[in-house]
Amino acid sequence: MSNDGGEVVPGREEAGYDDSTAPSGGFRKGAFGVSGSGDTSGFGGLVRVEPGGAVALHSTERPYGGYFDEVTDALIEAVGEATYAAAVQRVLVDRGEITYFVAREHLLTLVQPLRDDEALRFELCSSVSGVDYLDSGGPAVAPGRPRLHAVYHLTSMTYRRRIRLEVAVSAEDPHVPSVTGIYPTADWHERETWDMFGIVFDGHPALTRILMPDDWDGHPQRKDYPLGGIPVEYHDATIPPPDTRRAYR
């Protein structure tokens, strides 16, 4: 917890999160984020820049360390150098985990050998989910930068390795090819990601809502979707948004 504004959180620079491009995630006023009432703490005039910026935009240089180099070399060998260069936009190694940022049109060309190649053998698709980076601060919100990320966690049971693939798309064109043909387990994961984020997985056998009711409007886990405040079809009940539930007046 930092009391003073603009303090760089330890470890951010090492991890490659560049704060120098601020102003990023916006500003905070006062010591407690209070608005609408008098701040009697004496810190009311304090203005500080939020750190912000969940997406690191640089690429880690090789060698990556650990088994990451072996995996990357095997992947380059399997798909060819030209395809790899076109498919993988950048690679980020952070906190002992590797993330490949993949162009969506090349996703399946990478995933097929990742599962089948003898040197890779990522047999298990642990998880597919989404992250919405809307207004996450930092350069990630630059115009035209896609905000919806589909995140794949792959596990090699043979070599006991894990990697992460990330595909970024915009909310206006949220199409990603489905990996259900390669990993049947992705069926429900992709349905959930469609349900919650509105990412369309082309080629999915039946992309329907899974957790929300079939006729629900909107995608609840997007950042511009409110928490609460949605009318519910039950005795005309409405749940007010959290910030309006109690009024201390």
Partner: protein, 443 residues
Amino acid sequence: MSTTYNPSDPYAGSRETTEGRVYTVTGGDWDLTLGADPHGEERLVVNMGPQHPSTHGVLRLVLDLEGETVTKARVVIGYLHTGIEKNTEYRNWVQGTTFVTRMDYLAPLFNEAGYCMAVEKLLGIDIPQRAATIRVLVMELNRIASHLVALATFGMEMGALTGMTNGFREREMVLDLLEEITGLRMNHAYIRPGGLAQDLPEGSVEHIREFLEVMPKRVADFHRLLTGQPIWQNRLKDAGYLDLTGCVALGITGPVLRATGLAWDLRKVEPYLGYDSYDFEVPTADTCDAWGRYLVRMAEVNESLKLIEQALDRLEPGPVMVEDKKIAWPAQLSLGPDGMGNSLDHVRHIMGQSMEALIHHFKLVTEGFRVPAGQVYVPIESPRGELGYHVVSDGSTRPWRVHVRDPSFVNLQATAAMSEGGMIADVIAAIASIDPVMGGVDR
């Protein structure tokens, strides 16, 4: 005597008798629906659930039947969706613990541990040794409780009701221990980012040792009650068959995967919290059916007992929370006669002695600590399989995104593969052997 066809009411034709007019009600529009079936088979669509005692909570199955054979099984979920993942984005990092613990409500301590380990990995901190040992201790207690519910409901759904009463009775012993340690029977919020809410209370170690004395006898009772019983064996054997290839393709982990003969247990293959220094086995079976999954769970209860004993033996005095006061929860919690709360010493300190301590307490509790930006994926072995936490931070005091790869959610996808082509009675055995918890499936 044939019924007169009445064009104004095709389903309830009438005829006159000496007793007055008699109506004959026929099959409603089902007759028309089935009459249109080109195969002319005895096709029947049965809706099972969402409120059905053998569907483990609010799970709905739509089964296509031909006679008693299931030709198609569709699973409908979402009845227990509460938006926990979304809610965590509006609370600070410590409050997240109290949300995630309510997902898989039979394994709350695994949810807490996975979440806290993800936050700690983002923070880049190590927890004290005693905290790690107690985490192992309470998680293995929790694993026993969870498996006992799995076995109890398994018994209930197969008609072995004594299995249920026994299972819940034994589970109550574990819940009593967890209540003594954490203050709550379920939804403990005991494991916190950086360590634990509080140390083991006095006397709890002795009570756990008493439990270790009793439990092996109860496991033996379970074996005497069910394992050797011919009806139990006949109901479980060859029911819900799914082999290794099917499991990996469908992403199935946990006892279902281990019942195919693959000893894939994250405590062994990707050890965390020092599990590699404990002596325990990974039980497997090679039958690929509900029977194998039953045996694996029974054996895992014994392995958890071994782990608990070792954890008790290596408990050394020491802190249970990181030293860093910028992260550690400021309140010193204590168990009072009326429940858990702040210790009086701590209240005296912040209210009467140190204004800085009061400010610090206030800031940390209301605003919380900041977590450096980045994302991690932390998998642990829950009683149902790989429980993964994908946590993203943007550097603020709240999570940017918490996604939970819940094993029940993934494993439930195997329902169709396990039950299509089998008898309708085996659907119940198949689902019971998956042991889904709908709180985790729907989140």
